[in-house]
Subunit: 140 residues, 3 copies
Amino acid sequence: MVKHVQIEFQTDTHHKMVDITTRVEEALEQTGMADGAALIFVIGSTGALSTIEYEPGLQRDFPELMQRLIPQDLDYRHNQTWGDGNGHSHLRATLLGPSLTVPVVDGKLVLGTWQQIVFLEFDNRPRNRRLLVQFMGETR
Amino acid sequence: MVKHVQIEFQTDTHHKMVDITTRVEEALEQTGMADGAALIFVIGSTGALSTIEYEPGLQRDFPELMQRLIPQDLDYRHNQTWGDGNGHSHLRATLLGPSLTVPVVDGKLVLGTWQQIVFLEFDNRPRNRRLLVQFMGETR
Amino acid sequence: MVKHVQIEFQTDTHHKMVDITTRVEEALEQTGMADGAALIFVIGSTGALSTIEYEPGLQRDFPELMQRLIPQDLDYRHNQTWGDGNGHSHLRATLLGPSLTVPVVDGKLVLGTWQQIVFLEFDNRPRNRRLLVQFMGETR
């Protein structure tokens, strides 16, 4: 079986991460898939996906890391051309990557106890975000 | 259905990115796949894949970012052993990763309007590059 | 066909990489899969996967790169809360990512000659590690 689900949400502050684990689990249950994989993909070029222990400390440590590695206020050529000031957002998104694939076994996402799936908002303004989740595998 | 296509191209200057979106779309059309995923994989250890808004500003910003994070001229142990001066290329490739999976819905790659699939050439000399694209899903 | 295999191993020193290519190849042979993909996934939030030329120089260059980009001894909020001193481990794991998908053609992993699959141990103590490999594709 191959079945896709779209997940949409609003991000209200930039450089935040959003725990989407429950949303992906709910989508998985709808499909009735038993074994396979969930391919999660960011439609857009200023957000990314990964996993993290979703706790308040790391929710602040990770954006600070991004600011150290790819500062918001450097003179990026993208900003000179487009004037939207989000050159750093694009670079962070390319570094982290738009896709994440999580295995599914016995109808459940395979994740560690302290491992959540997060959408990383890198843009400098609130966005309406769309993710596509492609479920591929065998039904029960 | 499972079907693979090889994509080959020459890179003429190092540290450049190559927009391969059209090549992947053409390969997808050949397969007749309607819904599933395109797994794109770099065969080799000095190149990587991601998505980006492929415009002239970011085409220069991204290599500059790589040079800031993983400078070419540090004294890497890889260079001491092999003498080919591309230690930075290997490290950049490992950080970015060799694989990218893009969902396919209704015979089309699911991508944002300003989101292109790029091959990131990290080696310090022109290379003949081979990517394998594995298409997995359902035919029309 | 969809079939998963668990790979387990002990890591004895932190910040090391482990070549798991042979383990994945052996698991692939057990499945009898001819064409498809091997999705490898880290169950846990302080390790990651990528590919690299697994040679002694890069085995030391890569941990040094991680220490430059995400130093162990910064005052991460995660450490203030949990006291286990591995904030850097979580951040490195999120940056690198928990999943890697490698194509399979004619019963073999598609990899370059000098390209190995590595588990990246980022935690600050020895760990018993579990990876799940989900094989999806067509049998011979």
